[in-house]
Symmetry: C2
Subunit: 214 residues, 2 copies
């Protein structure tokens, strides 16, 4: 398998975690999101992923895109080290936590959005960061409230083994920590992130441990 990735991309980071949790070998193909106006927007990469976004996974010559779709594919094709619970309600809960991050939170603060706020929208650095902190807070509060209310979490988001929800939580917490956001109001999130950080798979997938790390 070949993974088009960027060391700091949250979406690529999610897929790297899933690959390492399942013990699947892959070749990393770095796509630099900042160099030359963004290699992901260049025609060569658009042939891989016409949306011009990372990650993309190539398996048996077939290109797959979208981090959660890729992880569900890995789960179906390589069911060992399952990243979803066995029962439908548990699976729905895990997917909902993952989507709280991947649909409601991260899309509002990824690189292309932040660049659009400062470029075409003409906002100041301060306004851009206000935006960032606002949506990070909304997302973290929603995640924490679900973890607290649903009562499914153990060492990880759902029980005591990592799931797709943890594959999403950890990159989001990494982003929060890059900007020194205090995690004290989100004790379940902080606890789970710390438990994940102890595992070799999460260490291997970390932005600081990639071939394209700067």
């Amino acid at each position: 398998m070949k993974l088009y990735t960027y060391f700091r991309s949250s979406a690529a980071y999610r897929v790297r975690i899933a690959l390492h949790l399942k013990g699947l070998a892959y070749d990393a193909v770095p796509v630099h999101l900042l160099r030359d106006g963004g290699e992901q927007r260049a025609p060569a990469y658009r042939e891989v992923n016409p949306a011009g976004l990372v990650p993309a996974l190539v398996d048996n010559g077939i290109v797959l895109t979208q981090s959660l779709a890729i992880i569900e594919y890995l789960e179906e094709v390589h069911p060992m080290a399952p990243l979803l619970p066995q029962d439908a309600v548990g699976r729905a809960r895990v997917r909902a936590l993952a989507q709280t991050i991947a649909c409601d939170t991260h899309p509002l603060m990824n690189l292309r959005v932040l660049k659009h706020l400062k470029g075409p929208m003409g906002l100041s650095e301060e306004q851009k960061m206000d935006w960032y902190f606002h949506w990070m807070g909304e997302g973290m509060r929603a995640l924490e409230a679900h973890l607290e209310r649903d009562g499914d979490s153990g060492r990880f988001c759902y029980g005591d083994t990592p799931t797709i929800a943890d594959c999403c939580l950890v990159p989001q917490v990494y982003n929060a920590q890059r900007f020194d956001i205090d995690l004290a109001p989100y004790p379940n999130v902080a606890r789970i992130a710390a438990n994940c950080a102890d595992l070799p798979a999460f260490k291997a997938a970390h932005p600081s441990a990639q071939p394209d790390t700067e």
Copy 2:
């Protein structure tokens, strides 16, 4: 089953389409996103969904959230009228199309984001609409490019029966049409939306046919 819904919410609209495609009966519980500062943000609804977002589905007393997680749950518990292909690659393709809308496009233009742009961010109506059109365009281009390149579409996004991808495409096209966005540059998207519009399930789920339609 009980669905907390708002007639114009794209995410609720997706779930309504899935319920109708599967022929599942449900009670609609309207949550008015604009009344009294948003009923979805009130304590009563936060007890249902702590994230303060619609939709939420209650099945056998269990509350499920996030539109795509809810639809995957319905697919697992009620497999008739399947909304995903049988093979892993097909499933990944359908999920990726769904997420192109649900992760990359719609989160940037939903009600809470548009309100935040005009309120706390202090942008003008014109700037807000520039933002809306920009991300709608990005999303539609990505969707069209995938439909064109991947070659999986037939009458619908993937083959000749509706899938989760169509549950997402139709509400996004509804949004585009509300703002008179020309669909001519997106012929596959326009063709599929028209084919969906002919089906009773899509008609029943339409914002114009809900108990809370205004």
